[in-house]
C-alpha cells in the first residue's frame, strides 16, 4: 500500500480545503476504498476522513417536504430509520439486500452511491481498464461478459454499477446536495454518474446529503426492490429492479422503475414508466413495460441471458409492488425467497 497522509477535520471548510490538494480521497466507511488501496487499485496520497463531521450523519425532514439523508448515515442506520421505513421503505429493502451486517454497520449512504465497480479488470491493477486509466483498454472485453452490462455499455467500459441503494433512489428522483470550496449546489442523482458510471463530481467536491423529494412518499405503499443473485445473501445483483407505483381508482397514476446490475449506472427506463402510467395494472402490462425497459438491451459475449432475466425480475418487482409494500422489510430482503404471503400495509 502506498504511504498516505491521514487527516480528520472537524469542520466542513477544513475538509474542503484539505481535499483541494491533488491525489486526495474522501474516507467515509472505508469498506470499498480501503480494499481498493490494499489491492493497489486506489493509491491516494491523502485521505480526508469524514468521521469528524457530525452533521453529515443525520436524517432530517426538509422544509418543503421530503427528506435529507446525510452522506455519512450508515447503511444500517438508514435501514432502520423510522422515517425511511414510513416514507421510503424500498430504500431499507435495497440496503438490507446488500453486503452483510458488519459492512452495513460501517458503510455510508454516499459511499454506497459512489462505490467502484466489481469488474475483475477494474479490480486488477495490472489489467487494462479505461475506467482506471483512460485509453489503456478493457480487459473485461475478453471475458464471458457474465458481469458486464447489457444496457448503456460504452466502447470504453462494460462494467455494471454495483449499488443496490442507488437503484430505488434513482427511481424516486433523488437529488444530491454537493459542497465545494465555491459553495453548494444540488444535482439530480442520475447526473452523478457519467456514461461509464464514474462520478462526475469535480475533485474536492463532497456529497453532503441525499435529498428525497416529497413525492417519494406517495409511492411508499407500492414499492419493492427485487434482487436476483447467486446466493441468498451477501452477493451483488446479477440483475435487480426497483418498482414503485402510485395507484388510484384501479389505475397506475404514476410509476417509477429502475434496474440494477445491467448498466454502468443505475438504469432508469423512462419507456417502461410511460407504458405503465395511467394504465390498469395487469400481467400483460407489466410484461409490456419490461419489454420496453429492455428494448435497447444488447448482449456482450455470453450475457444475453441477463436481458431475459432482467425482464422477468422487473415483471416480478412490479407484481410485488402492485400487491403492496409489506408491513416489515422481509428478513431475506429483496430475495425471491422472501415470504410472499405477508399482508400489505397499505391498500
Amino acid at each position: 500500500m502506498r504511504r498516505f497522509a491521514y487527516l480528520r477535520p472537524a469542520r466542513l471548510e477544513e475538509a474542503l480545503a484539505a481535499a483541494a490538494e491533488p491525489e486526495t480521497a474522501w474516507l467515509a466507511g472505508g469498506t470499498n476504498l480501503v480494499e481498493l488501496m490494499k489491492r493497489g487499485v486506489a493509491r491516494p496520497a491523502r485521505l480526508v476522513d469524514l468521521a469528524g463531521l457530525e452533521d453529515l450523519a443525520t436524517i432530517t425532514p426538509l422544509a418543503a417536504g421530503g427528506l435529507s439523508i446525510g452522506a455519512a448515515v450508515r447503511n444500517a442506520d438508514l435501514a432502520r430509520h423510522p422515517v425511511i421505513l414510513r416514507d421510503a421503505p424500498i430504500l431499507a429493502e435495497a440496503v438490507l439486500s446488500a453486503a452483510a451486517p458488519q459492512i452495513r454497520n460501517r458503510a455510508t449512504t454516499a459511499g454506497n452511491l459512489l462505490q467502484a465497480p466489481r469488474c475483475a479488470g477494474f479490480l486488477d491493477p495490472g489489467a487494462a481498464c479505461n475506467r482506471r486509466a483512460a485509453g489503456s483498454g478493457c480487459a473485461a472485453r475478453g471475458g464471458d461478459g457474465r458481469d458486464a452490462a447489457v444496457l448503456g455499455a460504452t466502447e470504453a467500459c462494460i462494467a455494471v454499477h454495483p449499488s443496490d441503494l442507488a437503484v430505488p433512489l434513482v427511481a424516486l428522483d433523488a437529488r444530491l446536495r454537493v459542497a465545494g470550496r465555491d459553495g453548494e449546489r444540488t444535482i439530480a442523482l442520475g447526473t452523478l454518474y457519467g456514461a461509464d458510471g464514474a462520478s462526475t463530481l469535480p475533485p474536492g467536491e463532497l456529497v453532503r446529503a441525499v435529498l428525497l423529494p416529497a413525492e417519494a412518499a406517495g409511492f411508499a405503499g407500492h414499492a419493492r426492490y427485487l434482487k436476483l443473485r447467486e446466493r441468498t445473501s451477501f452477493a451483488f445483483a446479477l440483475v435487480s429492479a426497483a418498482a414503485a407505483l402510485r395507484i388510484a381508482g384501479g389505475r397506475i397514476v404514476a410509476a417509477r422503475v429502475a434496474l440494477g446490475g445491467v448498466a454502468p449506472r443505475p438504469w432508469r427506463p423512462a419507456e417502461a414508466e410511460a407504458v405503465l402510467a395511467g394504465a390498469v395494472p395487469t400481467d400483460a402490462l407489466f410484461r409490456a413495460a419490461a419489454d420496453a425497459a429492455l428494448a435497447a438491451a444488447r448482449p456482450i459475449a455470453e450475457n444475453g441471458f441477463k436481458i431475459e432475466l432482467a425482464r422477468r425480475v422487473l415483471v416480478r418487482a412490479l407484481t410485488l409492488a402492485l400487491r403492496g409494500t409489506p408491513a416489515r422489510v422481509p428478513a431475506l430482503a429483496a430475495s425471491p425467497f422472501a415470504p410472499a404471503g405477508e399482508g400489505a400495509r397499505h391498500g
Binding site: M1, R2, R3, K38, R39, G40, A100, R118, A120, L123, P125, G126, A127, A139, G142, G143, D144, L228, R229, E230, R231, T232, S233, F234, A235, F236, L238, D283, A284, R287, F305, K306, E308, L309, R311, R312, V313, V315, R316, L332, S335, P336, F337, P339, A340, G341
Partner: protein, 756 residues
Amino acid sequence: MAEGTAPISPEGAAIGRPIARDDGVAKVTGRARYAADCRPPGLLHAVIAPSRIARGRVTAFDLDAAMAEPGVVAVMTPANRPPLAEDPDAKTAPIVFRLDLLQDDRIRYAGQPVAVVIGETLEAAEEGAFRLAPAYAAEPALVDIDAAEPFVPETVGLGAPVERRRGDVEAALATAAHRVQRRYETAAQVHNPLEPHAVVAVWEGDRLWVDTPSQNVARAQRRIAGLLGLPPDHVHIRSPFVGGGFGAKAFPAGPQVLGILAARLVGRPVKLVLSRAQMFGAVGHRAPTRQTLRLGLADDGTIAALAHHARVASSRFDDFFEPAAALSGGVYAAGAVETTHEAVRLDIATPVVMRGPGEATGSLALECAIDEAAAELGLDPLAFRRLNHADTEPISGRPFSSKALRACYDAGAARFGWAGRPLAPRSLSDSDGRLVGLGIGTAVFPSMMFQAEARALLRADGAAIVELGAHEIGQGAATALRQIAADALGLPLSAVTLRTGASDLPDAGGAAGSSHTATAGSAIHAAGTALVARLAALATADPASPLHGAGNAVLFAADGALHAGDGRRDPHAAVLARAGLGAIEARGAAAPDRAARASHAMAAHGAVFAEVAVDPDLGAIRVTRLVGAFAAGRIVNPRLARSQLVGGMIWGLSLALHEAAQFDPATGAIANADLGAYRIPVHADLPFVEALLVAEEDTLVNPLGVKGVGEIGITGTAGAVANAVWHATGVRIRRFPIRIEDLALAMPGREKEDDA
C-alpha cells in the same frame, strides 16, 4: 440434532461422549496462537510478487523502485535466492510435488511467485512488491480443459490405478435393456481455508524454527530439510493450530519455503502470509472435470453395466490427476463396472488433493447418473439405490469390513420424510408458488489409515501426558484424540494432557484422507495399552498391591486405577508411589492391517437427502433442508463428528450450486480471486442442515473401530442437491455449479407460457 442413534462406547468412559472441543474457548477468544500470530524479536515481513502471466518469462524487475520504498530491506529474485540442496523440480520421493522457488525466470502459471520483497513492515513490503513491476515475455497460454489434447496418465490421485475393470462393460452395455449415457462438468475449485498459508521462519545457525500451518508436520520437516540440506532434526516445524487446510496444507507449498529462504537471505526472522488473492495461485486447487457415465440397465431395475470416465486437468510440469471416476467402483452393484481417466495439461498451477479428491466430483456425477437411470426406468431413486445396493465391493468382489448403508437409507428417509415423494418432477410447490424438489445421494468414502507413533507418560500424581505430532486443524482432533488417550490409559479426561502439532513429536501421520482419528488414535491406543501393561506388571509383581498375583490379562484400567475382575483395584498413582517411580513412559505404534485390508473393502457410508425451492421464473435455487445419515464405525465424539459431517455437506452444496474458479482465457489467471466473486454458501443458503449418526461396529478397520467423518459429507450431498433441483423443475442441469441462467432459461417462464 437428533440424539439416540449414536453408538455409545460400552467400554470407554470418554470415547463416545459429546464433549465440547478442548480448544473452543481459546479459539473464540483469540488466545489460540496461529502461525501468523507469532512475532519473534527482529521480525521482518515478506510478501511474494506473483506472476501476472500464465506462460513465458520474467524479463526485468524495477529493483531500484522497489528498494527505494522506505522500509524495504531486500528483494529476493532468482539472482540472489539462497542456494538449495535439492532441485525443487526433482522427484525426491514417491509423493512429492514440484515447487516454484525462484529457480529460474520461467513462468508456468499465473500467480507463480517471481520474487519476494522483504520489509520492516508489511505495508513497506507490499508497496515494494507493487513497485517491482516485473516485465514479461508472454507466450500463449492454454487454460481450457475442453481445448487441450487428452492423454492417459500412468496413475491418478496419489498413486491409484488410472483404469479399473471388472466384467465386460461393453458387452453388458450392448445387451442391456436400457442405456443411459450422460456427461457432467464440474468447475475448478480453490481450497481457501480461513487461515491463509503463513510462515514465520527463524534461523539459529544451521537450525531452523518454522511456525506454519501443516496437515503433516513430519512430511513438511522431511521436505524442507531436504531442500535446505539440513538434518531433519534441525528443522523444527510448529503447527499447534491450523485454520483449515482441506488438502492445501497437506504438502509444503512454495510460498512457505520462500519465507524460510527470505529469512536466510536477510539473516533475520521473517513472516510471510499469503493474501486472499494469492491463495488462488501457488497453493493448489481442485481440477475441473468432464465426466461421462454410461449405464446399462435390466428391465428389473438392476444395473448390468456401469462405466465412469473422467477427463481432468493438470499442470504442464507436474502430475496430479483428480481420480474422479475411481469411487464408482465401490458404490453400486453392477454386472460389469469400469472406471477410467484421461487428462489434459494446461498452463495452470498443479492441482492437489482437495477435500474428497476425486470422491467429491465423482460422486456428483455418479449420483446424478444414477438418478437419471432411475427416472429412465420410472423408479423411485431411493428404491433404485436400495435395489442396487452393493453387498460386496463391485470392482474387487471383496466383502466390506462393515456397511450400514441400508440403515442410513432408513434413518435418513424417515427423518427427512422421503415417503410419499411424487415420482414425477415438477410435482411439488410451496405456498408462494416456488417449485419444490426432493433429491437423494449415496455417500461413501474409503476408510484409510496410515502409520503413526505416540508416546504416553504417566506421572506420580496419576496424570498423563500423551504426545504425538497430530494435527488440530479445526476438525476437533485434539479433543477426540484426548478422549481416546483417556480411555486407553484408564484415566478421567481431566487427568490427560495431549501435546500435538510439532515435528519434534512422534510422527502421527497426516490429517488427510479422513484418516487422522483412525491413524493417530490407534497409535495413542497402542501407547496407552503399553503403558497400562507396564503399570500392571508393576502392580501384580508388588506384594503390597491389592492386585499382587493377579494375571495381567484380567486387569483393566479405568477411573485412574487398575482393576481386577473381582473388584480389587489399585490406583495408578499408588502403583508408581510404591515402586518409587516419578513417572513411567510407553510408546505405541499403529499401522494398517495389510491382511485385513487385502481381504476386505473398508469405507464409511451414508445417505443424504435434499429439499430445494426454485423460483419458477427466475431460476433462483435455495436448499431448504439437508439431512444426512452416516455410518462411520465407532464415533469418538458425536458432537464433533456431526460438525465434521455438516461441514462436508455444506461443501457438497457448494460444489453443486456455488463454487467455481474461473480461469480467464486471455490471461490464464483466476479472474474471481477473492471471496466476493468466488462464492461459497452463506448461512441464508442453508436454513436447515442435520447429520444423523447411524450405529456401526467394525472389528477389522482398525483397533478402535473408527472410520473417517471428514470428507464423506461432501459425497452424496452434491448429487442430492442436483437431483432435487431436477425433481423441482424437470430440468436436468449437468454443468456445475448450476447457474441461475442455465436453470431459468431452460424452464418455461410463466410469462412465456401465458403468451403461448
